[in-house]
């Protein structure tokens, strides 16, 4: 097996870094949206549901392109907010994080919702009549009881983040050592003669990371299953 180059190592690290950052950043919002969709009835719920789930059905390249328009120098957010603040997003690793977060977000929300919908409403009513305010009930009853959904959602999103390709390549580019993640590196190796062995090696790394993630998910799931 050929040795990994510095760019390959950085692709592996970057993949993990992007997936973890996107997952952690999405968690609070994912929890909040799942809570809204599960427990609160409001006007425009269907619209919110549609917006949240849209990235699931859209081709990732489309998501990436829309993000490019939105965050680019002349884009709605990029032009009015990021540019004046001197923040450069496009073609940096931050863009990869945003792309990964947007694409994985519906998966996370769905998992947390499944967890929340399984909570007996009577428990929440009981907590309220025992003196808990809304936020108190969320923290002491809903959060711990939807923990398995939260963990499952995070794992799913992390895994999806590791594999993110379409949106990332559009909005972050494929710059070795800067925005190149494992899938992008494999794509590059596969694209020129003699790169097959390196592509295979990176596939191996991908598989190894996935197996580790799945095993830890199982382990955490069992531990929380014992207490919940």
């Amino acid at each position: 097996m050929p040795g990994f180059t510095a760019a390959d190592y950085s692709a592996i690290l970057l993949s993990v870094k992007v997936a973890i950052t996107a997952t952690l950043l999405s968690l609070p919002a994912g929890f909040a949206v799942a809570y809204l969709m599960t427990f609160i009835s409001f006007r425009g719920k269907i619209v919110l549901d549609g917006i949240v789930n849209l990235p699931l059905t859209l081709p990732p390249v489309v998501v990436g392109y829309l993000l490019l328009l939105l965050l680019g120098r002349n884009g709605l957010i990029g032009g009015t907010l990021l540019q004046p603040l001197g923040i450069e997003v496009i073609f940096t690793w931050k863009a990869a994080v945003i792309a990964t977060a947007v694409v994985g977000f519906p998966l996370m929300v769905r998992s947390i919702r499944v967890g929340m919908e399984a909570i007996d409403r009577g428990l929440i009513q009981a907590s309220r009549t025992l003196g808990a305010g809304r936020l108190d009930a969320v923290i002491t009853v809903i959060l711990p009881l939807s923990l398995r959904g939260i963990i499952a959602g995070s794992v799913l999103m992390f895994a999806r983040g590791l594999g993110e390709f379409g949106a990332t390549i559009v909005v972050a580019g494929n710059i070795p050592g800067v925005t190149q993640t494992i899938p992008l590196a494999i794509y590059e190796y596969a694209g020129y003669p003699g790169g097959e062995a390196m592509a295979m090696a990176l596939c191996g790394v991908s598989i190894a990371i996935s197996v580790i993630v799945l095993i830890s998910h199982e382990w955490i799931g069992r531990r929380t299953g014992r207490t919940v």
């Binding site: 009577g122 009513q125 009981a126 009549t129 025992l130 808990a132």
Partner: protein
């Protein structure tokens, strides 16, 4: 406790339109399933919001649609015990018990954990997870948890319906004991007449989304006796004296009753159907039934084509029922002396 509600709420095709005022500490809410009892209590506790109306508890307005006033659930301090215990599965028994206590303003904390553990006999369960409790233990913890939140009113929504009979009356004792000890007024929802009569003094009748009546628990039993095969259920709280010939002898006022379903416990509640009591004008010389009570007719009332006969035996009361023709033959009217005949096997022990 003084409660006044005039509320309207629409849930799909179901409409609740209730208007009543009630004063007392042991109130029953009685009605068939689906009549709106639980909805009404949900509005009171603040779990649902009435479409319009007002709710006053002890003179304080806790909801008024016109003024846009709606006291939030936690500030109402009305605890609920539901049909299922709804214990928090991720907490130990102790943390469950203290959930409401910790959220109750410190100047309201009159009920304390230590004394409650004794009253409900749940001290040995404290460190357990709630998954490892029996049905009766769970409901006791739920009741304890509700009481420890030191509510100004406790609502119990069919808290006994998931339990078997022997457990049911054991829990009734715990509830009565605890609410009595700490003077917590309660509303007790049930569709069981027996439970309602043991637990409450006055009863609100809820039918088809409306409050249709307010009566004492005994009036309710008399009003409903025509709908039941067993007629009126006499509830007798009896003190055990001795055993004789395989039967238990119980003290009932200044009389003694022979009962075959007895047990060696100092006190028990028995039910006796009004249909199981035979009335005789004269003393029968020899009879197989073991209980022959001389009593006086203290009231006669109509019940679905039959006669309900209230009998006074010393200070105690029994209700029997007979067909109208039997009433004529025996010359039943108020004040008449008569013999009541009851078989030893006619009594059913409630716990």
């Amino acid at each position: 406790m003084k409660l006044s509600m005039g509320v309207y709420k629409r849930f799909g095709s179901f409409q609740l339109d209730a208007d009543f005022e009630i004063d007392g500490d042991r109130i029953g809410i009685f009605g068939p399933s689906g009549s709106g009892k639980s909805t009404l209590m949900g509005l009171l506790a603040g779990l649902h919001r009435p479409d319009e109306g007002t709710i006053l508890l002890n003179g304080e307005t806790i909801f008024d649609s016109r003024k846009g006033l709606n006291v939030p659930v936690p500030q109402r301090r009305i605890s609920m015990v539901f049909q299922r215990p709804h214990l928090f599965p991720h907490m130990s028994v102790k943390r469950n018990l203290l959930y409401g206590y910790r959220r109750c303003p410190s100047d309201c904390r009159t009920i304390r954990l230590e004394s409650l553990l004794e009253v409900l006999q749940i001290g040995h369960l404290l460190d357990r997870g709630v998954a490892h409790l029996s049905g009766g233990e769970r409901q006791r913890v739920a009741i304890g948890r509700a009481l420890l939140s030191n509510p100004r009113l406790l609502i119990m929504d069919e808290p006994l319906s998931g339990l078997d009979d022997s457990l049911k009356f054991q829990i009734i004792d715990f509830i009565k004991n605890a609410c009595g000890t700490y003077r917590i007024p309660y509303l007790f929802i049930s569709h069981s007449q027996v439970e309602t009569r043991i637990m409450t003094d006055r009863v609100l009748i809820v039918e088809g989304g409306r409050v249709t009546g307010l009566m004492t628990a005994d009036e309710l039993a008399r009003a409903r006796m025509k709908d039941h095969i067993a007629g009126y259920i006499n509830l007798l709280k009896l003190r055990h004296i001795r055993n004789v010939h395989g039967m238990s002898v119980y003290e009932w006022g200044d009389r003694q009753l022979f009962i075959s379903a007895g047990e060696d416990r100092p006190e028990d509640i028995f039910e006796l159907s009004s249909a199981e009591i035979i009335l005789c004008k004269r003393h029968p010389d020899a009879i197989s039934a073991r209980n022959l009570l001389r009593c006086r007719v203290s009231d006669v009332f109509e019940t679905g084509g039959r006669l309900g006969v209230e009998l006074a035996c010393g200070k105690e009361r029994l209700v029997a029922e007979i067909v109208r023709k039997a009433g004529e033959d025996l010359g039943i009217r108020k004040g008449v002396k008569i013999y009541a005949v009851i078989k030893a096997t006619a009594f059913r022990r409630l716990r």
